[in-house]
């Protein structure tokens, strides 16, 4: 069966941007296309999968058609992919499958979200639409509140407390400080991160990612095309995706994300790799507790030791077992919901090609993992990328 590689990747900066949806997508797509080593005629692109939650409702229907007509891809087969915060992780997987199936040779996967042009009331409404509306939202739960329930339970079950979450925040802000596309490029001290105002007890401001504007885009190609167009393709070695019950209370456990475990198991199995082989991981740290649980779910830490993993600094750039979130993660790089999954892929692509800022380059990295979660864990896509297939 055909192998699939990423031959181009680009994204806008993440942040509170003045650019519109169309401008952001055009920028990300142009950067992705122009990053292809030997050039890419956009006429070669056959399909586009664009992840977005259509936050704010500006263009809920036919989002992908509107985006592609502003990036020179008009006329091709397009669709919006929606799985909450995992929208573009799944868009990437769909693009990969389109090539694996033999139906297409060059496919675009991307993501986009515009979140900061809304009134606070409207933003608050949209931030809560991806949980179980009837049974969670109407019990007062927002996503910070849902993850807060997980955090408090985690502290109760394991040897962990809020300080462990502070370590995650400090690390990710340190990583993101050097990232030119990060939303919050600010280092924070342990004391500062420990003293944020309460958002949803026990989670404070520094436990929560920002709401960001941004777009991301990658070009995938079948092996025979990839080798012609790129000297340094990044190979998709494993792809796994899974789901779980939408509402936290319906799940077997509130201190682990089973969808992550299932998706990771498939991706590891396909790639023939284990967690020990991964040099860097972009994990879905929408809240600091999410990174703690992800490190366990993905096999970097034993069950119940994600807090200890953070405390011991085992995810710090080039210092620990594996570099966790060298981009700064959602916490610092930012979280434009629909863009985040492919944004992680963009980071891994650049890291594997030694193209990020030197001060935050993960050294001697051969394989990277990207972990993108939808909502509080209802959906998850995991991808393993490598320099060699």
């Amino acid at each position: 069966m055909v192998d699939v590689a990423i031959i181009g990747a680009g994204q806008t900066p993440y942040g509170n941007l003045s650019s519109t949806l169309k401008e952001m997508w055009a920028e990300a797509a142009q950067k992705a296309i122009s990053s292809v080593d030997k050039g890419l005629e956009s006429s070669l692109i056959e399909e586009a999968y664009i992840g977005s939650t259509a936050f704010g409702g500006q263009q809920i229907g036919n989002t992908a058609a509107l985006m592609t007509e502003h990036s020179g891809m008009e006329g091709i087969s397009v669709r919006r992919v929606e799985n909450a915060c995992a929208s573009s992780g799944f868009a990437f997987r769909d693009a990969w499958m389109a090539i694996k199936s033999g139906e297409a040779d060059v496919v675009v996967a991307g993501g986009i979200e515009k979140m900061n042009d809304l009134t606070p009331e409207r933003k608050r409404f949209w931030l809560g639409v991806s949980g179980d509306t009837e049974w969670e939202r109407l019990a007062g739960l927002t996503f910070p509140a849902t993850y807060a329930l997980m955090a408090r339970r985690y502290f109760h079950e394991f040897d962990s407390n809020h300080d462990d979450l502070v370590h995650v925040a400090v690390k990710n802000h340190a990583h993101g400080f050097a990232n030119e596309v990060a939303h919050i490029r600010k280092e924070v001290s342990f004391e500062k991160a420990a003293s944020g105002f309460m958002v949803a007890d026990p989670l404070t401001l520094y436990d929560c990612c920002p709401t960001s504007d941004g777009a991301s885009c990658v070009i995938l190609a079948a092996d025979h095309v990839a080798r012609k167009l790129s000297d340094t393709p990044v190979w998709v070695k494993g792809s796994g995706a899974a789901s779980d019950y939408l509402a936290l209370h319906d799940r077997e456990s509130s201190t682990q994300i089973l969808a992550s475990q299932r998706a990771a198991k498939k991706a590891y199995s396909m790639s023939g790799l284990t967690a020990n082989d991964i040099g860097l991981a972009e994990v879905h740290d929408c809240f600091t507790i999410a990174e703690v649980m992800a490190c366990e779910d993905l096999g970097f830490a034993n069950r119940g030791e994600g807090g200890l993993f953070a405390r011991e600094g085992r995810g710090i750039l080039n210092q620990g077992d594996v570099t966790i979130n060298p981009s700064g993660g959602l916490k610092s790089k930012g979280h434009p919901l629909g863009s985040t999954g492919v944004g992680q892929i963009v980071e891994a692509f650049k890291q594997l090609r030694n193209e990020v800022e030197p001060s935050r380059q993960v050294l001697d990295v051969e394989d990277a993992l990207c972990h993108n979660v939808g909502g509080s864990g209802a959906t998850c896509a995991v991808h393993i990328l490598g320099r060699e297939i």
Binding site: G57, P120, E121, R122, R124, F125, G128, V129, T133, E134, W135, E136, R137, L138, A139, G140, L141, T142, P144, A145, A148, L149, M150, R152, R153, H156, F197, M198, V199, A200, D201, P202, L203, A247, L248, H249, D250, S254
Partner: protein
């Protein structure tokens, strides 16, 4: 008719009499009883009917307009429009009687908690505003709310061997259902900041200084999330037992939506 003894029940005050029951809000303002922050006559009526059911068979009930009869019916009582065996009669203050002859029961007991006047006024205004509010898009329609009301209020779970499903799954409709006891153990909890609640609660959350949600393990291993009732300020503790009682959840497009909240 005068009541005999009065006891706390469901966060209200229940007074028993020979002819029926009197249910009163436990909150007092300037000597008058006023409804709690998320309570009204419908919530009081459920408490009274539950108490009555402990004493005798409650066959049919007639509700006044102040009581949402759909909630009474969804809770499991037989509501009729006329010739009901039991009649609910609302009083001018936040209390009501349930008797067979529509008589009012009175109590001279002064028990209750003083409510802050400004808080009371702000909450009433917030509920009025909330009632007029319109959803911005994705929301629980009246049809969806009413369809799920019985499951919500009675905790009707589907049973398959040792497995229980609540709320029920559409593909399990052939399974037997049974109501779970309305109590649970706190597995976790959180308090959202005043500005951090879902938009449905945007008017009241700042007044309440945030809202507390509990993750509970009910009987048979079923879990659920529930708001804390009555703006209770005491911090919940994991492992504690709580009782689930009927309260207002939120209001929208002219309809007050009820559900179970945790009394801690």
């Amino acid at each position: 008719m005068a009541a005999n003894e009065c006891i706390p029940l469901h966060g209200h005050i229940l007074c028993l009499a020979a002819s029926g029951v009197l249910v009163r809000s436990r909150f007092i303002l300037d000597g008058d009883r006023v409804h709690g922050p998320d309570s009204d006559y419908t919530c009081l009526a459920i408490t009274g009917l539950c108490a009555l059911e402990e004493e005798c068979e409650v066959t049919t009930i007639q509700c006044p307009s102040e009581v949402d009869e759909r909630v009474i019916a969804a809770y499991g009582f037989n509501v009729v429009s006329e010739d009901g065996e039991w009649k609910i009669v609302v009083h001018k203050d936040a209390s009501l009687s349930i008797t067979k002859d529509s008589s009012m029961i009175h109590s001279t007991a002064e028990d209750g908690e003083e409510m802050d006047a400004a808080f009371h006024l702000e909450m009433r205004r917030a509920w009025d505003e909330e009632l007029r509010s319109v959803s911005q898009g994705a929301y629980v329609s009246e049809q969806q709310y009413l369809t799920g009301l019985e499951s919500r209020l009675r905790l009707l779970a589907q049973k398959d061997g040792d497995n229980y499903f609540w709320p029920g799954r559409e593909n399990n409709r052939e399974m037997n259902t049974l109501p779970l006891p309305r109590r649970g153990i706190i597995e976790s909890w959180t308090e959202s900041a005043a500005a951090g609640s879902p938009s449905e609660f945007a008017f009241r959350s700042p007044i309440l200084n945030g809202m507390t949600t509990l993750l509970l393990t009910l009987e048979c291993g079923v879990k659920g999330v529930f708001l804390l009732a009555d703006d209770e300020e005491k911090k919940p503790e994991i492992g504690s037992l709580v009782e689930l009682v009927v309260r207002r959840i939120y209001a929208q497009e002219g309809l007050i939506r009820y559900g179970l909240k945790a009394l801690y």
